[in-house]
Structure formats: C-alpha cells, structure tokens
Symmetry: C2
C-alpha cells in the first residue's frame, strides 16, 4: 500500500492516507467534520472540498461528482470528499469551503461576528468622593457630578431620576465610594455602593416573527456570556404577520396583549440567560431590540395597522431610545432600550441590523444580503448606493404551508438526497432523531434533489409516470421520503405536489425581488461579489440546493456567505458601540426602498421565476449543467 | 351741617361727608372695606389710613390714635380712620395702605403676581400635513417633524415615546390635521387629532408641610383658572418635619407611603381644580412643584434622612425635571414635572420660588424675604449678593403648641385688641363664627395687645397683680379672650403664659436669623428698603403687631409688603416661563446659605431676641414709643 499525505492547511492538520481511501476518510482521521448526509456514498453532494494542490494524486472525478459539480467547479478543483480517492503518493492540499463545514453551521446560529471597537452606550466609573462639611455644604448630586468631571465627556452632566432617588443612601453605604453608570457620556442613570465596575451587562434581542433570540453580553469584555431563545409567543394570535396586525388593529387591548406576550417572553429569556451566566437582571444596564417593522411596532406598543396598508408607512423611521420600564422590560430599573431605525414598512430594524453586520453599505464591491423569512428582506448595494426591498416569501422556508412541514427541531428532515439510479431518497434529521417531518432546509434539498433526478420537471410537476414506489398518486401526487413503518408519526412523510408549488412561490418572490433591485442599480448578477444569506433558514440550507431551485442568482458558491442570525449580530454591535448606533440612522436614510408591488415589471419577473430554476435557463448556467447532465 | 369731600384717589372714588363723621364712615359710603376689628372704637388700631392732603379738615389725633401710631407715622399723616373726625369743609385726600385693605388680604392668599413674559415650557402647534404616497413613502414621524420645521426652535426635534405610540392613529383621525405639544422646543411629547391649541393647561403646586395649594393655569392666557388646597396628608405621620423625616427614614415602605399620600393629595387637588374649571386632566401638560427641601425629597421619593443630619446636605441642589407618571401624578400621560432648585437642606425649592416671586435677587436696593412657617426661610440681599438662612421658628405661628391654638379656620380668633381702659379684649374670628380657638395671626395680635396694655412685660410674663377678671391664675397664668359662656367649645379661650413663651421662642428664632444675615452683609436694618412677608401667616398677621412683638426689624410699615403664598407665585412663574426656569438654577447657585447653628453669635442674638420686642430697645424705636406711651 502506498501512502500519500493530505494537508488541511486552514486547520493546521495533516495525515497519512492509504491508497484507495478518500478525502473524507482523511478528514475523519484528523477530526475535521465535513457534511455528508449520505454517509459517503456520493449521493448527497454535500461533502464538497477544493483540491488546491496535488490533484494528480487523486483518481479523476467520478460520474457522481460530475452530477453534483459544475464544469467550472471541477475546473477550479472542487471534488466530493467521499468520491476523491487517493491513487498515488505525494502531498494533496485540501481546502474545506464554508458550506461543507459542520462547525461553521453551529457557530453561525448566533450570527457572524463583525468587529466593532467596544464603546458601549453605558459605562461605569468608580468614584471615591469626599463628603461635605458644615462650612461648605454641597448637595450629594454636586459631589457626585464633580467627581465625574474629567471622566465623562459631556460638558453638562445630569442625573437621572432613578439614580437621584438612590443617591443619598448609596453614596454613604461604602464610605463615599460609588460606582456610577453613565449613559451616552451625559446622564448618570444609576449608582451603586462600592466597586461594581466589573459587572456590566447588556441584552441584544432579535425579535423574529417566528423566533425570539436573546444574547447576554458582558459589556466590559464585549463577549456573549449567555443566550436563550424561544418561539415568538404571538404565534397563537396569528401565524403570519398580517394576521397579527389585523388582531392588534382591533383595539388597544389587543395591541397591549401582543406587546405584553412578547415583552414577557423577552423578560423570560433575559432571566434564563442571566441565570445561566450568573448575572443578576439588575446588572443588565442596556438593551438593543431588533425586529421587522411590525415586530418593532408591536414590542414598542405602536399600532401596526397602517404598516400593512399601502403605502405601508412605518410610524417612525429613526432609531428609538425608550426606557426599558416604559415597555415593561424588567432589567436594571434605569436601563434604556435602543431600537435601530427602520427603512420602510417591510424593511425594518432587523434589516438595518443585517446591514450593520454584513456591512453591505461599506464595501466598494457590490453585495446582496438576503434575510430569508416569511418576509424576506433583500438589500443590494455598496458604498455608493444601497437599495432594499421586501419579498413576500411566505412561511414555506420555515416549514409552513408544507404538508409535513415542521420547524428545525429534533426529528425534522433537514438534508435530503435522491439516488439517481433508483430514485430512492436518503436524509438526515436534526439531532439524528427518528423522522417527524420536514424543515425548511430539508424541503429545499428535497425539491433540488427531485429536480436533479427528474422526479419533478421545470414546472415543478411530479412525473407520475416514473417507475418508483416512492411516487404515490393515491391522493395529491407525492414523493415519499420516509415510510410510515420507519417513523413514529403514523403516516408516510412525503413531499407533495402542493409543497413543491409553495416552494416555487416562495423562491420566485425572493428571486424576482433580487432581480428588480439589480435592475434598479443597472447591474448584472455576475457583478455581485458577495451573497449574504441570513436568517436561521440561511444558516442551514444547502447553498447548492438553493441555487438549483433558483432562490438566488447562479454565482460561484464561494461568493455565498452564511451569516446566520445577522440581525442578532447587528443588535449586538449596536449594544457594544455608540458609533454603530450613530451610524445606523445615517445608514437607514441612505438605504433606498423599492416597493415591489409598485414596480411594473414585478408580475412578469415573478411569473418567470416560478419555473425551476427559472424560465430563462441562461441565467442559471451552472444549474443547467447539473440538470441536463443527468438526462 | 357742613359737608366736606373725602377722596380715595387710588380707588377713583369720592364722597361727601358730614361734619362729625369719620373717614371710616366715608369709606363705607363708597364700599371701600377697611380693616376694623373693634367696630370703629379706636381700640384695635387696624384701620390705619394716610391723609395725604387736607389734614387740617380733620380734628387733631385723639389719645387712642397716639397710642396706636408712632410719632413718625403721625407726622407722615397716618390716622386711624375711625378716629379721624371731619370738622371743616374742604377736600381731604386719603390713602388706604395695603395692611388696612381687606380685599388685599383676600387676593394675597394666592400670592403676589409678578409679571413674566409668557413662554411656557410646553407649546402647541396645529399642523395640516400631507400623507405620503407609494412613490415617496415617509414615516409618520418624519411627516410630523417636517411639518414642525420652522415652527419649533430646536435644530434637532425628537418625538417622545407617548406621542410615538399615539401617532399613527391620531395623525389619520382628522384627515392629517394634528395638534402637537412640544416641550422646551425640542421634544414632541403629545399629539392630538384636529385643533386643540386652545386647550393647554398647567398645574403649579406649593407643597407646604401643613397645607398643599394647587393652581390650575391656562397656559395660553397665563391665568389661574382654578385653585384647590388641602391639609398636607403627611401630618398624621408627624406634625413637624423632623418626625416625618424620621418616619420616612425607617424604610423604603415608609418613604413610599409618605410620597404616596402627598401625590394622591395633589392628584385630588388637580382633579378638583380641573372639575371646577371644566378642564380634563389629560389637558394638563405641565406641572411645577415647590416645597421645602424635605417636602421636595418626599414628593420625589428621595430619602430625606440626611437632610436632617449635619451638615444637612440635600440630595440635589439643581432643578429637577421628571416625568409626571414617574412620581405618580395623573395628568397628561406625557407631562413632565419641573421642580425648582434647592439652596440647602433647610432652604428649599419653595424659598427659591419665593425669591423668584419677590425678585430679591434683582433689585438694586436691599430687601428681605421672610417666609414664615415651622421653618422660616429668610433671604436677604440685592442684585449684588443674596444670602439665606432657615430659622427653626416652630409651629406657634400656625397655631401649633398654643393651648387653644388652631388653624385659620372658621371660628379661629384672628384679630385681637385690648381696651387699655379696662383691659377687656375684643376680637374678630375667621368667618365671624363663634370662637373656637386662636390662630397664628390672632396669637400675635393678642401678645402685641397684651404687651401694649401692660398685661405682659418685656419678658413676656403676665402681670398677675393687675386687677382684671380676664387674668386668671387658678392654673398656669392666662388672659381670657372668650368666656366659656360665649363660645361653643365648653371652656374659656385664653392666651396662657406658656403660649406667650412659645411666641417669644418663635419670633426670636426669626429675628435672630435676620440679624445674623444682616451682619453677614454688614448692613443696618434701616438700609432694608423692603420686607416681604410670605406664607399664609404673613398674609393675615397685622404688620404692626408683628413688629411690636419684635418679629422683624422696626421699619416704616410702608416698607412691609405681604406677598401671600409667594412660593406658589414663584411656582406659577416657572410654569409660565422657560426663562424663569433657566434663571432659577443660576439664582439658586447665587444664594449663599448661612447655617445659623454654626454661627458663633447665634446663641447671644437668640437670647436677646427673646424679650419683647427685644432686649435692645434702641433697635425698636417705634415700638418703644407705643409701649411707653401707655404708661
């Protein structure tokens, strides 16, 4: 047996590999986790690696690989790790692209980390003060503010009401040693006896219409010390946003109810993340909340009725600072909440946070940010011009309106492949549990695999003439992923004809939105240097499957970057940096908004984008190869 | 019968008067009310008038008059109206000095009106806005703030949280006509549909330790439209301030309780004054609260413990602006409350309001402001230098610690005189009701009359050897004003030896405080051009009686001005004028504070001032004449 050396340079790892073994084996030997749903059978196409040097040491690309990789990719050294067999001595240098990394996905749940210089809105100062004498009586506040002179930036300091009521007792409790919490360099919001400067926390919350994610940060270290998340408790009042708007619009009481449940949920997440991090809620002095415009209005207690009526005006575009207690948040009693600006009725503070995190507005080259959700915010631009729109993509990508759809919880089928030789499927579930349903990334994978294997055609129609026991026509046509006998839910789990149509509607909304933005900037898809996929769906979806169904423009996969919960990332940035906050209002004003419904070409674009991947196949050259090649 | 003409020029009135009639008769003929407790018998000395021209038309001053008026006064034309008999034809020009005017007293309950140019902190603007279109979507807030451009002074307008939550509905309710309430030219605090600009009210409150007085103002007109007052409901927790401090210091709950009762009382007064004026509480957009430092701390919910401990530091000296709802005031939900600055632990926001109203700090000539209460604030100065102190005068002037003392309620003996010929008393009660007790002004009158008639000597001791059925010695020596048979309370109402001592202690505290302030400024009493007597007591007390007992320096009575509830006046000024607010912090910083307890000469000054009117009679030349003359 001849050995070769496989080097994973980025990981700083290398290993000896015997001839006849593949790159996936090499990765396993050095504990590098590479996605491989089909268990190394070449069927799922998820174990993509790039051979940077020594490709001659490997056997030529197999037929399975040519079915999963485009000519351009093969030319660029892309291989499927499970198929790339060593057949010669020598050193093979292998790169694992982000989409194939398992740990990448785990990290991305919290969203990308974009560097900011730490300069939080709240700062603590320890003061050692001198008490006044009968000869020179000074008020407690004067003594405090004089002690801050030189430390605080503002010329005119003031004391907040909460701090004032605490001051006389606190200032004397530790012999005139006091820790002062200063907000924006000008307002003393809180005072504590002795030295508590090392205890200063903040909360960043992304209020999604489906899920609420909270991040507890140590504001001294600039690090996340606790996280917690929960389904949005408004769901029972309306699965989709419009139903919630309609509920809230029926009266002040309903509005207060929707605000109440979401605030109660955030309070619970705050408590949970504080408990796990050993932090008291009173040590949380600042918060940033983001959400789409309707969520924004609801958690602030603003009637969202008009956001949902043309011309969809938000109540406010600018950022909002409000006292936490005014909206019922139970943190430090003097804390404020900062809410980044909105852009428009359907491009909210969460999209601005996405833009803060991806820095679309900062880069010289063009990039596009797609935050996939029930409403998908799309932002396209560079440092010259930035435009945005909102696509009504619906809940399909979150498992909604899908017959066996479910959220990405244990047992959800999240990755799917189809063996082209026998049209049998393979899949992986969340937590490797017994299958219970299909989540968003699973349905995209399934539709892409069904398209590649010819189970559906470009119109999304299931070919019921195909000879496969998996294709059932007893009711609405469907392709069975899991037999009733193989799961615990008591019925087959399948992708139905209607499910495929839901996916087509959803992806057409997004793709046509992106197309219209490109047209507004007079650019071609290939000019886009970076595609940022945000949102939980964006974190888990297979980027190749997404492009196969035509979700976004057909660009080299290395230009696609998963940014996870970028809204949460942006919220954390605003929590850590006053400059980010100051910028965000400028950014919001700079982002132009395109109302898709008012664009004359929208209907045509949408209709063309309903096909898989698109009516105009020249727009999807890579995908065209993958589909054709199988015929 | 020969007729003469009596002219009351200030009133624009004149009348014919037959010979043998007196000036009091003339006044009655033209409906001018002049104080006259004794019913025109020349005994009470309260019907002082000044004959400016034609004194030769009158009979020479009677003996009764020379007993009530000093030589200087007689030389200046002072007469008792009831004694000045017409005995010749001709025109007699008569002036009624303020202390003799009955209507003056009634007016002064609300305090002097000091002119301010109307520029309240809150202003309303009616805007007619244009809604946005699909082509140019603007947020509701942007539309609103753009509509304010040019009207509001601040470069950077912002919208408050309450206004924001109301905006989407309100802006559309009257077809985009909106009334905006702007605070300090920069913050939109409230929005209302249509035109409500003619409905804008504010509340000024003087929180005294005994009584709370509220004034509802129309901020458009700058006029009082409603008033209400009530006893301070903290009294059950401690009659004097120190007991309340001690109660509040025992724990957070107690502090909240004292805050709670006073705020509830203000809410009630607000409601009452609104109801009587036909105003809704939501139409009250601003408030000013004043009170001494302890009241200030209590209504703001600040522990006053340290205010009562040397060196008596207040928690804050500067003015405070706090949202009304933060302290529980139930007015417009977006309203703020402004609290003027304090000077020291015992010279509070009420004293600053006194100074605002009397403008002691503004005048070139020296003046002294004395706000008589349980703690009497004294401010002395001019536009060069202003100093202040607080005298622990106790509750005697409010009827406290007086055996038959009571508040100035119906039945309270408020004016007293003694007939020198038989030592029999005469008196007037509040509301001319049957006597029930003696109020502050009554006890001062009584002590002065007892001193003039020799019932007590300069040490305040009752001369029990005098032959008078009114002087009783069966228990502690006393002088009976009302026999048990003549009233409904079931016992004699008398001034006891102990009562006289209480008055001596109280007046000595005030006089010695004033003396020490004068010494600090190196001035003599005669240099003081104006004595402002403030507080309810100051409104009703007879200024001559006050000087006879030695309450303040012996100066010509025309220099004494009653300013009533000057703290309330100052509060109303701050409600009407942003300039007054901006000034008040400067004024507070300019007022030096003298801690009497730390002054080495205090003990000696106090002891000398215990005598009636003072150990050093050369300080009281006028009084010396009045007392001597009777012997």
């Amino acid at each position: 047996m001849t050995d070769g050396t496989v080097v994973f340079e980025e990981y700083g790892k290398r290993t000896q590999l015997s001839q006849g073994n593949n790159i996936l084996d090499a990765a396993k030997k050095v504990d590098i986790e590479i996605s491989a749903v089909c268990g190394g059978r070449g069927l799922c196409g998820k174990c993509r690696v790039v051979v940077k040097e020594g490709s001659g040491n490997l056997e030529a690309a197999s037929q399975l690989e040519t079915m999963s990789l485009s000519k351009e990719e093969l030319a660029a050294g892309y291989r499927l790790a499970c198929c790339a067999l060593l057949n010669r001595e020598g050193t093979t240098l292998v790169e694992v692209p982000p989409e194939s990394r398992v740990e990448q996905q785990r990290l991305l749940v919290a969203g990308i980390e974009t560097a900011v210089s730490r300069n939080p809105s709240v700062k603590k100062f320890l003061l050692h003060l001198s008490k006044s004498s009968l000869e020179n009586v000074k008020s407690d506040t004067d003594i405090l503010l004089e002690g801050l002179t030189g430390k605080a930036e503002a010329a005119r300091l003031r004391i907040g009401y909460e701090a004032l009521t605490r001051l006389p007792t606190v200032i004397r409790e530790r012999d005139w040693s006091v820790t002062v919490t200063l907000r924006d360099g000008e307002e003393v919001i809180y005072v504590e006896p002795g030295d508590t400067t090392n205890r200063m926390y903040g909360l960043a919350v992304d209020v999604g219409s489906t899920k609420i994610a909270a991040y507890l940060l140590d504001l001294n270290e600039g690090k996340v010390v606790g996280t917690a998340s929960a389904p949005n408790p408004q769901i029972p009042f309306g699965e989709d946003i419009i139903s919630r708007v309609s509920y809230a619009s029926k009266g002040e009481k309903n509005l207060r109810q929707l605000q109440g449940v979401v605030i109660a949920c955030i309070n619970k997440l705050l408590l949970d993340s504080c408990e796990s991090a050993g932090v008291r809620v009173s040590e949380v002095y600042d918060a940033v909340l983001v959400g789409n415009t309707v969520m924004h209005h609801l958690f602030l207690g603003i009637n969202p009725h008009y956001v949902a009526l043309a011309p969809y005006p938000p109540a406010i575009r600018s950022s909002v600072s409000v006292r936490a207690k005014d909206i019922g948040l139970k943190m430090n009693p003097a804390a404020y909440v900062y809410v980044p600006p909105n852009v428009a009725g359907f491009v909210g503070a969460d999209a601005v946070a996405d833009v803060l995190a991806t820095e679309v507005y900062k880069s010289e080259s063009l990039s596009i940010m797609i935050d996939v959700g029930t409403n998908t915010e799309i932002v396209l631009g560079n440092d010259q011009r930035t435009i945005s729109c909102s696509a009504a993509s619906g809940p399909a990508f979150e498992g909604g309106h899908i017959e066996f759809g479910m959220r990405a919880e244990p047992g959800a089928i999240e990755n799917v492949y189809v063996d082209p030789s026998n049209l049998e499927p393979g899949f992986k579930t969340v937590g490797d549990a017994r299958p219970r349903g299909i989540c968003g990334s699973g349905i995209v994978d399934a539709v892409a695999a069904m398209l590649k294997s010819g189970i559906i055609n470009k119109y999304g129609l299931i070919d019921t003439k195909l000879k496969s026991r998996r294709i059932r026509t007893d009711r609405v046509p469907r392709y069975v992923l899991s037999w009733k006998e193989d799961n615990d839910v008591g019925h087959d789990i399948a992708v139905t004809q209607l499910d495929v149509q839901e996916i087509q509607l959803a992806k057409a909304a997004i793709y046509s939105g992106a197309t219209i933005l490109m047209r507004h900037l007079h650019i071609e898809p290939r000019e886009i240097q970076k595609v940022f996929l945000a949102g939980a769906f964006g974190t888990y979806v297979d980027p190749q499957s997404a492009v196969i169904i035509g979700l976004y423009p057909d660009l080299p996969l290395e230009r696609v970057q998963f940014v996870g919960n970028a809204a949460g990332s942006g919220a954390r940035m605003a929590l850590l940096s006053r400059e980010v906050r100051e910028n965000s209002d400028l950014i919001s004003r700079r982002i132009d908004y395109v109302e898709l419904a008012a664009d004359p070409s929208f209907q045509r674009e949408f209709t063309e984008a309903l096909q898989l991947p698109h009516k105009d196949l020249t727009r999807f050259p890579t995908v065209a190869q993958l589909i054709k090649r199988k015929e």
